[in-house]
């Protein structure tokens, strides 16, 4: 037994093991904590909407105006990722040299759709504090799934797919209405459609606060750049 005990930090091993054997804390079966109060309120005043969007310089402006600042900015943009899932996606994108201020799709190095969407999600994190992101196209095919496996995550997926169906069935040119659900203090589930020339994509994202409708167009534009959709920019 000495041969085993001599090299192992037994107290650390026991601590880890006891943590694993304890039931993991789960807020409540619905996936929402006790602060869930229902639908979030949006401040749709023009000033707030304008600030929400104009405060976010586009990547192409940064690249054109300050190359050195872009290099530093790319580090500052690295988000405080609350979600392990999005952290892994961003790490993959970072390792691939993709997680930097958005550039036009034509200038970006060739990358898989998933890696490009990971960049888009990293941008969402830096601009809106998104911690989990889910994207589904109008056919109901999942383009990116960074949601957790909790019941809350499953609910968000269902909501996004329902919004997809609603957009398909809506009258031509109409989109499903955005939905913001306040999940707790500093946590809102935002589900809204994004128009691209390839059709409507629905995004579900966990954000600190509701995203004003005026900002949706800009988000759609950034997504279009990632998808290489120059016609929509």
């Amino acid at each position: 037994m000495g041969a085993v005990h001599g090299w192992m930090d037994e107290s650390e091993v026991r601590r880890l093991a006891e943590g694993l054997m304890a039931a993991a804390p789960v807020a409540n079966p619905s996936g929402y904590d006790s602060d869930f109060v229902g639908f979030a309120e949006l401040d749709e005043s023009p000033e707030v909407a304008e600030e929400a969007w104009q405060g976010a310089p586009t990547a192409s402006q940064e690249v054109a105006d300050a190359p050195q600042a872009v290099a530093g900015e790319s580090q500052a943009v690295v988000p405080n990722l609350a979600s392990g899932a999005l952290a892994r996606a961003s790490e993959r994108a970072r390792e691939a040299g993709l997680l930097r201020p958005m550039v036009a799709a034509a200038e970006a190095p060739a990358a898989s759709l998933t890696d490009r969407l990971a960049v888009f999600c990293g941008w969402l994190t830096s601009e809106f504090g998104a911690s989990e992101v889910y994207l589904v196209d109008q056919e109901g095919q999942v383009a990116f799934d960074g949601l957790s496996q909790s019941k809350g995550g499953e609910f968000a997926r269902k909501l996004a797919r329902a919004a997809c169906s609603a957009s398909r069935e809506a009258a031509a040119g109409a989109l499903s209405a955005p939905v913001h659900l306040k999940l707790g203090h500093g946590s809102t589930l935002a589900v809204f459609p994004l128009e691209t020339s390839q059709g409507v994509m629905v995004m579900a994202a966990l954000v600190p606060a509701a995203i004003a409708p005026a900002a949706h167009g800009g988000i759609a534009a950034e997504l279009a750049k990632v998808l290489g959709d120059e016609r929509r920019v």
Binding site: V4, R14, L20, V26, S150
Partner: protein, 261 residues
């Protein structure tokens, strides 16, 4: 449906043997059980079927959205036991389906299996806690760790616990059902000592009372494509796995009460 992943930090510790015989035991108890080969090496299929190399399976499903789960299920002579082979698409792991896309497909796989009204799904995973194994653990209810009762094998325990702790952050509902000591050699002091050391260090109840001994019966059973319980001289081994299954049933019953499973 309860999804139990059988995992380990190192390879070659007896996960496949454990998966096959545990699934067999669950099925013998009357529960509809599906054994899934989540290891690209296809060890489960190699152990139980002659045609495993030709079977469409789990990794094909991950890479092909047109495949149905029904097409993948292979029945066995035991009516309550079926299996899904690893499949031909094991190169999927290397090609990398892209983060996000594989998790969705893994989740869909288990959702569809649940739709076929299986009560237990035992998944034999590849060694380590990354890649598709991590995706499987993210979707599982419980994980059983196979741990070789040898000094060198025991050295991987700290790393294994760290990996599981990270997995629990991704999937808080993942229940660590326990550590199963495998390849135990009762007549070898080093093996006995390694087993005893692990029991003394880990919390009570984490290491299952039932162990899997090193026995050439498992090799002979694999050569015949059978669980050990189906071998002519497999009664003792069958009893051993029945006891292990009873231990797990007790733990799972506790999970139900906690609302985890």
């Amino acid at each position: 449906m309860i999804i139990i992943a059988v995992s380990s930090q190192k390879g070659g510790v007896g996960k496949t043997t454990l998966s096959i015989n545990l699934a067999h035991s669950f099925a013998r108890s009357g529960r509809r059980t599906l054994l899934v080969d989540g290891d690209p090496q296809g060890s489960v299929g190699l152990s139980l079927t002659r045609q495993s190399r030709n079977l469409t399976g789990f990794y094909d499903f991950l890479g092909d959205t047109s495949l149905s789960v029904e097409r993948l299920v292979v029945p066995t002579r035991l009516a309550t036991l079926a299996l899904v082979a690893a499949g031909q698409g094991s190169s999927y792991e290397v090609a990398a389906g892209g983060y996000g896309s594989s998790q969705q497909r893994v989740s869909e796989f288990f959702q569809r299996v649940a739709g076929l009204e299986y009560e237990i799904c035992v998944v034999d995973t590849a060694a380590g806690f990354f890649g598709i194994t991590a995706e499987v653990l993210a979707a599982s209810n419980g994980v059983l760790i196979a741990q070789q009762a040898e000094p060198l094998g025991i050295r991987s325990v700290p790393k294994m616990l760290e990996s599981l702790t990270r997995m629990r952050a991704v999937n808080p509902r993942l229940r660590v059902l326990g550590v199963v000591l495998t390849m135990v050699q009762a007549n070898l002091p080093e093996s006995r000592d390694a087993a005893q050391a692990l029991r003394s260090i880990l919390p009570e109840g984490m290491v299952l009372r039932t162990v899997v001994p090193r026995d050439d019966l498992f090799i002979r059973a694999s050569a015949r494509g059978l669980p050990v319980g189906a071998m002519e001289d497999g009664a003792a081994a069958l009893g051993n796995f029945e006891r292990m299954r009873a231990e797990l049933d007790a733990k799972l019953a506790g999970s139900y009460q906690e609302g985890i499973a």
